[in-house]
Amino acid sequence: MFKKENISTYVFYILLITGVLISLLPFVWMITSSFKSLAEISEYPPSLIPNKVMWNNYVDVFDTVPYGRNLFNSFFVAIMYTFVGVLISATGGYALSKYRDAPGRKLFFAVILSTMMIPMQVLAIPLYIMMARIGWINSYPALILPFAAQGFGLFMLKQYIDGIPDDLIEAARIDGCGEFRIFFQIIFPVIKPAVAALGTIYFMNNYNLFFWPLIVTNKSIMYTVPVAIAQLQGQQFGIPLHHIMAAATLSTVPLIIIFLYFQKYIISGITMGALKG
């Protein structure tokens, strides 16, 4: 005999676990499909475990597209983007927070906040035209720089820097510290947790970015991973589903590892924005 209390606990956990399974099943399906032959993926009824494990999918995908280069592009661009983006947000946040006498500070802050309202898709066409004019189509700078200054990041770090007492900075100034030294040796160490949170969010956003790289690259060696996968999917005849699943797995696994490692920061970064915003 179950007590009433017990039954409701069971139902509670069954619901929660079902939800997690729904969240995770597509990933399991991606991974098992990546080891199936093309014929087996389109078999009905579908099989969970591949009949014959096709390790070859992981080799062949590098022959059909320059996938090694695509993976490199994605990592390189995301790392550079994170670095530049965090530096802009931190220095900008510091300036907005601590240089209170600067003329037009409020106006700057209002303009920066209002850019948070403008989605990337709205800016894509004018930015594409700019990139074309200066000859940056198919280049790393075009993939890294245009969206490196994010109002969201600036705002987040400004809020954080607001909490640092001015006395600390004044004391350093009296001791003859230069502005750059103040920033890197006093401000930066204090805001490290916020920087880590912002950095991981920047990295993931950029690594997963699709719309902008799709527009600004048209050579397969300059594609980032999402564009490369989309191009495989977009083929007219015989979509190579087995290669797509292998490519998708290869691009997702590193991201999941990074997520599991940094999840504390990601979750704190996202909730920080929500509770203060």
Binding site: L24, I125, L241
Partner: protein, 256 residues
């Protein structure tokens, strides 16, 4: 640029507001706008509803393995939309998809998720819901943890039921967070691009074409840069007005 006709190469011709006038009479734009509004109005309540329920469940003090649940629910958000798109292309396939296997095994007929005009939009909504519930759950969970425990204790003393506590304490206290996630979802909905681009190409017969995909097609497939610029401004206008009114309504109600 939105006041010009320009093919991407050569000179742009000044055409005044002609592009804007054309948008208002453009039936494809109307279809894309209607589709986008449909996806927004169906996915947002689903996402926020599920997220709130899940967050309340996870906020129970007795929940074990909270950390693992949180990671599990958050996983869909971590993955790129392109990867999500290709996975669901095979999961929802009309002939061999896993979803249809389940549907058939409980005795229903297979559903042409991605190949029928009636289902293509709904399939996009399913994928959006799957991807965004976890993210919103995390935000709402953080909000729930800020509600003072004393409120619930007082309700317990007065003999309040679980449902009463949910509707009279949780929902009103969560209003700012719900508003925040609602605005985020709205802005996000009007940017939908990757899911239809990957899964259906906007079809069949434009039944899942989104505004952003139409913008992309105009600019980068038909090379009507001027027209696409004008579409960008219209899109921005829509997002701006939508979030402005939500903020107004949200803060207005708070005053009452």
């Amino acid at each position: 640029m939105s006041l010009h006709r320009w093919g991407g190469l050569g000179e742009a011709t000044f055409t005044g507001v002609a592009n804007y006038l054309r948008i208002f009479g453009d039936s494809t734009f109307h279809t894309a706008l209607k589709n986008t509004i449909f996806m927004w109005l169906t996915s947002t309540p689903l996402i926020l509803g599920f997220a709130l329920i899940l967050a309340v469940m996870l906020n129970q003090k007795k929940v074990k393995f909270l950390k693992y649940f949180r990671v599990g629910y958050f996983m869909p958000f971590v993955t790129s939309t392109v990867v999500v798109g290709v996975i669901f292309t095979i999961l929802l396939d009309s002939s061999f998809g896993l979803a249809n296997f389940f549907i058939e095994s409980i005795g229903f007929e297979k559903i042409p998720f991605l190949t029928s005009t009636a289902w293509s939009k709904i399939s996009i909504v399913i994928v959006l819901t799957w991807r965004w519930v976890g993210y919103n759950t995390i935000i709402m969970l953080a909000g729930l943890q800020n509600i003072p425990e004393a409120l619930y204790e007082a309700a317990d003393i007065d003999g309040g039921t679980t449902f009463q506590k949910f509707f009279h304490i949780t929902v009103p206290m969560m209003r700012p967070i719900i508003l925040f996630t609602f605005i985020l979802s709205t802005i996000g909905s009007f940017q939908i691009f990757t899911e239809p681009y990957i899964m259906t190409g906007g079809g069949p017969m434009q039944s899942s074409l989104s505004v952003v995909q139409y913008l992309y097609n105009s600019g980068f497939q038909q090379f009507r840069m001027g027209y696409a610029s004008a579409l960008s401004y219209v899109l921005f206008g829509i997002i701006f007005v939508a979030s402005y009114f939500q903020l107004k309504i949200g803060s207005g109600e708070e005053g009452i």
